[in-house]
Amino acid sequence: MTDPGPLPAFLMPVVAQLRRRGVQVGIADVHALRLALRAGFGLSSRDELRELCVHLWAKSSAEADVVRAAFINLADADLLADWSTADVAVPEPVRSDLQPEFVPNGDDDKAGPALADAVETGMEESAKAGAVSHLNHDLDFDLDNLRTKAVDRGLVLVPQYPLTAREVAQAWRHLRRPVRSGPAMELDVEATIAVRARRGVATPPVLVPRRRNAVRLLMLIDRQGSMTPFHGYVDYVVGAIRHAARIDDVQAVYFHDLPGSPADKRALDEMPNPFRPDLDEVLSLIEPLRDGRVYDEPTLTAPRSLEEVLAGITATTAVLVVSDAGAARRQLDIVRLAGTIALVKALRTGSAGVAWLNPVPREQWARTTAGQVARHVPMFPFTRQGLYQAVDVLRGRPFLVERPV
């Protein structure tokens, strides 16, 4: 009776729009929707239908917002017009017990896309009150008049980056160095059998410590200046690595351009041809960078010495540098290059490996400091493939660079 038959016209545009926005809706998801429609869900109104899709497809509250916005934008495009819900006979409306699972803000459903018909809700009033108290303590600004009280739900307020948190985490979960450590808790079957066979009597099982990911990740992250436009994206990736990559020891320190003053100028003075854009001839003369400051906070407020951080590097520490290395502003700075090489030399000593992620696309590295740095250090763009390659390098897979330091 409620067999939807052929695909509803709205479906493919919605799915295409969602995929462009990073919500991966697959065949199984569409099939689930059709089953639900057949079972009578989502037929009583457009809002019902929208919420049904939110339930079925969205995997986070951010994705839920994106799905809702997609539906509202489509309503504008009249694509939902043929989804005539009135003439579909529904014996029983959708079970209302589904609703409370999601929405604390269920009353929002009636707010349409139009700006004009938006309603004053108590929630907005309170938000406004908060803003007032925050902004003005003494002057009594009447902020009520500074709002239109209109909420355009077709607008998405969820930032979107080229990679999803899931993709980042998937890549970084490959960064593993399993080491057995801690209390012996796991049964070692082979050892137990071997002991039993050797002794011929019943022996207690042999236990070994659990494997743990012994990898430690140190991230040195460039902030401010030409990196400012990338702050959001870099923070998002760093957050994903911290929270979902299953690495126990993640440390992030921040710096601007370079953690230390540029390398000692002696090496630069030794250059036979000062106009060469590279430092190949004096590479060996550059001393590892020791003096310098890094910061624990992205705002670069509380400095600590670089030496301290370097001292914490062990054979299981993978070091990741995140910086545009001058590529964002298309600069080639030989002093910065020398400083960068000095930093890499310092990081490389004693660590498991150094990889560099550059948020600027690879095509723009040429003829910048980044292009030169990439000749000495494995440098990858901030793409899915780039992340995997960086992780491979940090796991110890050899990667050929033109002039290793």
Partner: protein, 600 residues
């Protein structure tokens, strides 16, 4: 912050020049000297899409990377406008934006209104409101500007000014008054709220925001301002308007032809106002010529203008239509004149070495002391009444051929390679005595006496006099009237003539008399042939003229960009007309006049 808000030089102010003394626009616009170049550079490097994203970023007072990301996510993920993530950073780091600390970026104040016009033009008012709504929701939902209360307030007020301009004004009225009171009574409270400068800047911005128009309107304003400033402004004011036109022209959604038309009208007006035909080109006219020559355009017309000392090297004047233009002391090396149409042009003391004359139709009145070395002229027609001291060669070194109009069928070849310099002037009896060939001469040179019968020539003059009653850019060239003059019955009373542009370079001539409608053309192109073959046999008069008796015509008008001619019991004749709305007025006027005359 508030200083920066206030420093924005609005294009409109420069363009309209209403509330500012003539000199001021230049002073205030000096901050965006080269902004046109900046826009074009970004357009070349990042594409038109990036500039369209910048349109959106012009709505807020300042943007941060997060807001720019949301602008892209909301408006640039679905076709046809799709932008990758990388564009965001490149745009923020481009010269279009200035970093002002705290991760905030301010758009070039001189370009802000320009970009908003772009937003309005391309996406309409609804989009402007949506961007403002996004700004409002972003301000509420994130703490992006929390640490800077002045900025946060400015963002909210800006959003409101697009969504509810009256409300924003009201808010300002109420709060400016209340902010003024405590600060006058106690000095300490002045720090708590925005200062006076903030209110001044925001008031100005709110006023600007509620007054954003489309690019076309901006161009029209600028054109009007240029004409007005000719009489009561100084040259620097005009230069600054031309510069803002240049900026407008670098937006991806600007119709460059509109800009070119405005500049041509300016040059015409300048010529009318300036005394004597031998005056030198002033800086503003030179700037207008240079801008015309650097914009992508289709045809544009200059008529009866005298330009002395113009510098046009390397510019693009393709599709130029010059009628009776006098060019003296001209530097036009490498000038692109492809598809240009010149008639009765006087060119003296000119250097056109390396010019591109391909497919051009150049009929000069006089060529005197002109250098035309290694020009390319595939398919071009070059002719002149008077030729003196001309040296020239084709790009491959072969002699350049210039047809002499005064001595029929005589072709003169020049070759600098041979060191030959022929002076055919002596051979043409009139040229030496021709009063029109000197440099200080009447704008309308006398036509050389051809072998045609006097009646045709007279008719052509009659037609030309009538054509001149129509605006200069809406009437046919004199040469285009010849085909009609050859067949027009002498007794008919002429009512009106205009051109009907059908393609970039081609226009039919539409003539109405008290008995008939005529469509004519000056040469037999395939487009004309196509039209002629669609008309029934009995209406054809010669190869180049169609004559429709008024008694048989039911309808003749322009409907929705198509010229429509309905003849009784015949299929209708239609063809597409450019700038249809302009010509519809003329066609309707002529036809109605003729019809009424016939009925009475």
């Amino acid at each position: 912050m508030s200083e920066q808000l206030g420093s924005g030089a609005s294009v409109r102010e420069a363009a309209v020049g209403t509330n500012a003394p003539a000199g001021e626009p230049l002073a205030s616009s000096s901050s965006f000297v080269g902004s046109a170049r900046r826009l074009s550079a970004i357009r070349d490097a990042l594409g038109e899409g990036a500039l369209r994203l910048a349109y959106h970023a012009a709505v807020p007072v300042v943007v941060d990377a997060g807001l720019l990301n949301l602008l892209r996510v909301n408006f640039f993920l679905d076709p046809p406008d799709v932008l990758p993530f990388e564009v965001e950073a490149e745009l923020l780091l481009s010269p279009l934006f200035r970093e002002i600390g705290e991760g905030l970026y301010e758009i070039d104040p001189g370009l802000r209104n320009l970009l908003l016009s772009g937003l309005h033009t391309r996406y309409g008012e609804e989009r402007v409101r949506r961007v403002a709504a996004l700004l409002e929701q972003y301000t509420d939902a994130t703490a992006a500007w929390r640490s800077l209360p002045d900025v946060e307030l400015a963002q909210q007020l800006t959003a409101l000014s697009f969504l509810d301009p009256a409300g924003a004004e009201r808010w300002l009225d109420v709060h400016e008054a209340s902010a003024a009171r405590p600060s006058s009574s106690s000095a300490s409270s002045a720090d708590d709220g925005p200062g006076r400068a903030w209110y001044v800047a925001m008031r100005r911005r709110v006023a600007e925001n509620s007054d954003i128009t489309t690019i076309d309107t901006e161009i029209r304003y600028a054109g009007e301002a240029l004409l007005r400033l000719l009489s009561d402004g100084d040259i620097s004011a005009r230069l600054s308007v031309i510069r803002s036109l240049e900026s407008l022209a670098s937006l991806p959604d600007t119709d460059a032809d509109e800009v070119v038309a405005v500049l041509c009208a300016f040059i015409q007006k300048w010529d009318e106002r300036s005394p004597g035909p031998s005056k030198r080109v002033t800086l503003d006219v030179q700037a207008a010529l240079s801008l015309i020559g650097s914009l992508p355009h289709i045809e544009f017309t200059l008529e009866g203008v005298a330009l002395t000392g113009a510098n046009l090297p390397g510019l693009d004047f393709s599709y130029a239509i010059f009628d009776r233009v006098i060019l003296t002391e001209l530097d036009a090396r490498g000038l692109d004149l492809t598809y240009a149409q010149f008639s009765d042009v006087i060119l003296s003391d000119a250097n056109l070495d390396g010019a591109f004359l391909d497919e051009a139709f150049l009929e000069f009145h006089t060529l005197r002391q002109v250098s035309l070395k290694s020009v390319s002229r595939e398919g071009a027609y070059i002719a002149a009444d008077t030729i003196q001291g001309v040296t020239g060669s084709r790009a491959d070194g072969t002699p350049l051929e210039i047809r002499s109009l005064s001595a029929e069928d005589e072709t003169i070849g020049f070759s600098t390679e041979l060191g030959l310099k022929e002076e055919p002037a002596a051979e043409t009896p009139e040229s030496g005595a021709d009063p029109g060939s000197g440099t200080g001469l009447p704008h309308v040179p006398q036509a050389s006496s051809g072998p045609e019968e006097p009646t045709v020539r007279d008719l052509q003059e009659r037609l030309w006099r009538l054509a001149k009653e129509t605006a200069w850019n809406e009437r046919p060239l004199k040469s285009e009237l010849e085909s009609l003059a050859a067949v027009l019955p002498p007794g008919e009373r002429l009512i009106g003539i205009c051109r009907l542009p059908i393609r970039v370079t081609n226009a039919y001539t539409f003539t109405v008399t008290d008995r008939s409608l005529y469509l004519s053309f000056d040469n037999e192109t395939k487009y004309w042939k196509d039209l002629r073959d669609r008309a029934p046999e009995r209406f054809r008069v010669g190869d180049l003229v169609l004559c429709f008796p008024l008694t048989e015509v039911d309808t003749c008008t322009i409907i929705d960009r198509f010229f429509v001619l309905q003849i009784r019991n015949e299929p209708e004749i239609t063809f597409k007309v450019s700038w249809a709305s302009t010509y519809k007025v003329l066609v309707d006027k002529f036809f109605t006049t003729a019809r009424n005359g016939m009925l009475s």
